[in-house]
Amino acid sequence: MVATMPDVQPLVDEFCTKLNRRQVEGSLDTAKLALVLLRQVISAQRIPPNASAAVLIDAIKAVGVRMIAANLIELAVGNIVRRVLHIIREEDASLAITVVPGVNVAVDSDDEDNSDIREQSSSHAVAAANRNVLRAPSLHNLLESNPNPVKADVTVASTGDSADTKSRSGDKNSRSWKLKHNVIESINIMLDELQDYHSQVAEQALEHIHQNEVILTLGRSRTLLHFLLGAKKKRSFQVVVAEGSPRYQGHKLAKELTAENLSTTLITDSAVFAMISRVNMVIVGAHAVMANGGVLAPVGLHMVALAAKRHAVPFVVLTGLHKLCPLYPHNPFTLLNDMKSPSEILDFGELSGCLNGVTGGPESHVFNPTFDYIPPELVSLFITDTGGHNPSYVYRLVAEFYSPEDIVL
């Protein structure tokens, strides 16, 4: 109904195209870009004085759905969209709470017949209900009335005192402005958090890595590099890096760690089980954390997690709140994976004859998934920018940072 301002549209298109072509990849980069873009959408959105939050939410949803559809595997984009929606709802509700007592006072002052008791009680109910709006549905508010009739009450109460309708409309205008201002403020804070994410996680390294320990990892993640370097400030320890075929990011990590004077051993992925009994802890990065505590991580890590479980080695996952996805992996073995080109596994020339199904010759399939799904029972700990959490605690984080009505967009 209310379209976004025309000057934002090309930016959204551009971002979607980039996502689609995988010119932006990785959860942190996509999250940051998505957040900046959403901030622009909000500041460009013209808000009519009434029903302000709904307009803003619709605008963000419209943009968000397109961004998510552009590349389904970048779950961070969807997470950011949902968190921005949550922020809008939160700010809207907190404004509503601050407005309501004003109504109450006005009613009290200008008439004192028996109707004012009812109105007073209803405004109390509104405040109570609005506090409940944000909270996920719970046993606590199962029997409470739903927010819609309460909203109707608000308008009745505010139109009831006709004495100051003028000031009220002015107030509404400033309220919508206030909402926008507060939302953008919160988004800025979130952006700062994203900027600080690596250092926040790295700060906790000393609590987890001890002197002379042996740490095993697979592939490469920037968070992991910062984490290990954070620990290196005070501890000396060894790192065993599995190369992480077929992308061999482990080679790069090994080089980087050696450059920082950390004693590093590079092994093949198939040597993980042989090494695991000598290892004190497995620390890895993740692509996304699902709502049940399951992890989407680079391919090969499920195997590492199983090996770690077999030898009771703690399996620690470094992650940020932007990677926290409020969805459940309904069918993790076929969903949420990205199939890459077979050329990473074999050169075209080598087996081109086998790959050619057209000539009727023998045919071999090459399967090159990007991610593994690691079930929550294999994960010992998540280290996030807000501290360490158990897999069974993830649902709580989801409830805290997302509104249930946004989970399905």
Partner: protein
């Protein structure tokens, strides 16, 4: 049931709450004291009777909604005449309680006859009727009256978890409402009545929410094992089927109530391929299935569930073969219980027909009607509060009752 009795002092339904008037005692005939092997839980018996009446024919949603509408539209008079007859017939038993010709238990059983209403809903409807008839002039008086009614209801059958969970939930709401703002009794009363009436709707909506959340987990080509008769699990499967998903259901026979037959009947009507197996065949088919879908009678604080007997073994087998176990349960089934093992629940004796000669006294028969499945064997709970891990259940309960 001598084998059970030594543990009965650990019963979670504490009989020390025994302030429930002489009526309850005369009515119960001292049943709480001597639970014998031949006597079965009246709660279950009545339910079985209701179900056998109502589930034998095809019960459609249209039929239900029509019946519901008729009941609501034909106003209180029809309702009360039907109802008063029931009360009159029981008047002789209720003798002493002359102040109101009304028994909360009859009211409860009246609502329970509706096949689509869960027991917790019936309990809350019964308590709402108590409020409507109450002549209390203060919120406190009303609260006391309600508390008495809810205790009566709970004492009538101490074995039902959903009944006591429903009562507790509503009482909690009453306490909070009266504490909130209503010095005015009529406003408070009408608010409580309104919410009580709405609860039926809330519970139906809860079932829909669960079905739509849970059907995402059913995927094409999957094989689902069910055990026991659960309205919400059935709603979930039907919704998934109506969305064009192709899947198979294997359901257990479900002795001694043969719940599997009812489930199979309903699934057949919904054109879902279904296979019946013996209860003892669970491990045999576990290799073929993709997930286990269960209902629950009650969800306890640990996140485990209390459900129809055989649930525990099904979950155990599923876990040992690494199959996900999903439980569909409405949030009003969350109960403040913390059973530690199977013996930790009040026994629910059932009539079990085994091929043992009646007169053979030396053979004892185990007649428990339900079991407790600890949380570590459950993967996820589908509730109207969202999809929860078992550990989230205690969180919800703490939020409500702390």
């Amino acid at each position: 049931m001598p084998a059970m009795m030594p543990r009965s002092r650990f019963s979670l339904f504490d009989p020390s709450l025994d302030n429930s008037s002489s009526k309850a005692d005369s009515d119960e005939g001292g049943m709480a004291g001597n639970t014998t092997a031949t006597e079965s839980s009246r709660f279950y018996d009545e339910r079985a009777r209701f179900n056998s009446n109502l589930l034998s024919g095809p019960v459609t949603y249209e039929w239900l909604s029509q019946a519901d509408e008729a009941r609501l539209n034909s106003s209180a008079e029809v309702f009360h005449t039907v109802h008063d007859k029931a009360v009159l017939s029981r008047e002789a038993m209720n003798g002493d309680n002359s102040s109101s010709r009304f028994s909360v238990i009859d009211e409860f059983n009246f609502w329970r006859q509706k096949p689509e209403l869960a027991e917790a809903v019936a309990a809350i409807k019964a308590l709402t009727a108590v409020i409507r008839r109450s002549e209390a002039t203060t919120m406190m008086g009303l609260e006391i009256e309600l508390k008495k009614a809810s205790e009566t209801l709970k004492m009538w059958d101490k074995t039902s978890i959903s009944l006591s969970a429903g009562c507790d939930l509503f009482m909690r709401y009453v306490t909070r409402t009266s504490a909130l703002e209503y010095e005015d009794i009529s406003a408070g009363k009408s608010r409580l009545i309104e919410r009580g009436e709405k609860f039926g709707e809330i519970s139906l909506k809860a079932r829909q929410t669960i079905a739509s959340l849970g059907q995402e987990f059913v995927y094409d080509g999957s094989v689902i094992l069910t055990h026991g008769y659960s309205r919400v699990a059935l709603a979930l499967l039907k919704l998934a089927a109506s969305q064009g998903k192709r899947f198979k259901v294997i359901c257990t026979e479900g002795r001694p109530d043969n719940t599997g037959l009812e489930v199979a009947k309903e699934l057949m009507n919904a054109k879902i391929p279904v296979m019946l197996i013996l209860d003892a065949g669970v491990a045999n088919v576990m290799g073929q299935i993709d997930m286990v879908l269960l209902g629950a009678e009650g969800v306890v604080e640990s996140g485990g569930v209390i459900n129809y007997i055989g649930t525990f073994q099904t979950a155990l087998v599923a876990r040992s073969m690494n199959k996900p176990v999903y439980v569909a349960a409405e949030s009003y089934k969350f109960a403040r219980l913390f059973p530690l093992d199977q013996m930790d629940m009040s026994p629910t004796p059932r009539v079990v027909e085994l091929a043992v000669p009646e007169q053979e006294e030396r053979i004892k028969i185990h007649t428990s009607g339900r079991d407790y499945t600890p949380p570590q064997y459950l993967t996820l709970l589908f509730t109207d509060l969202g999809i929860l891990t078992p550990s989230a259940v205690s969180d919800e309960l703490i939020q409500l009752y702390l």
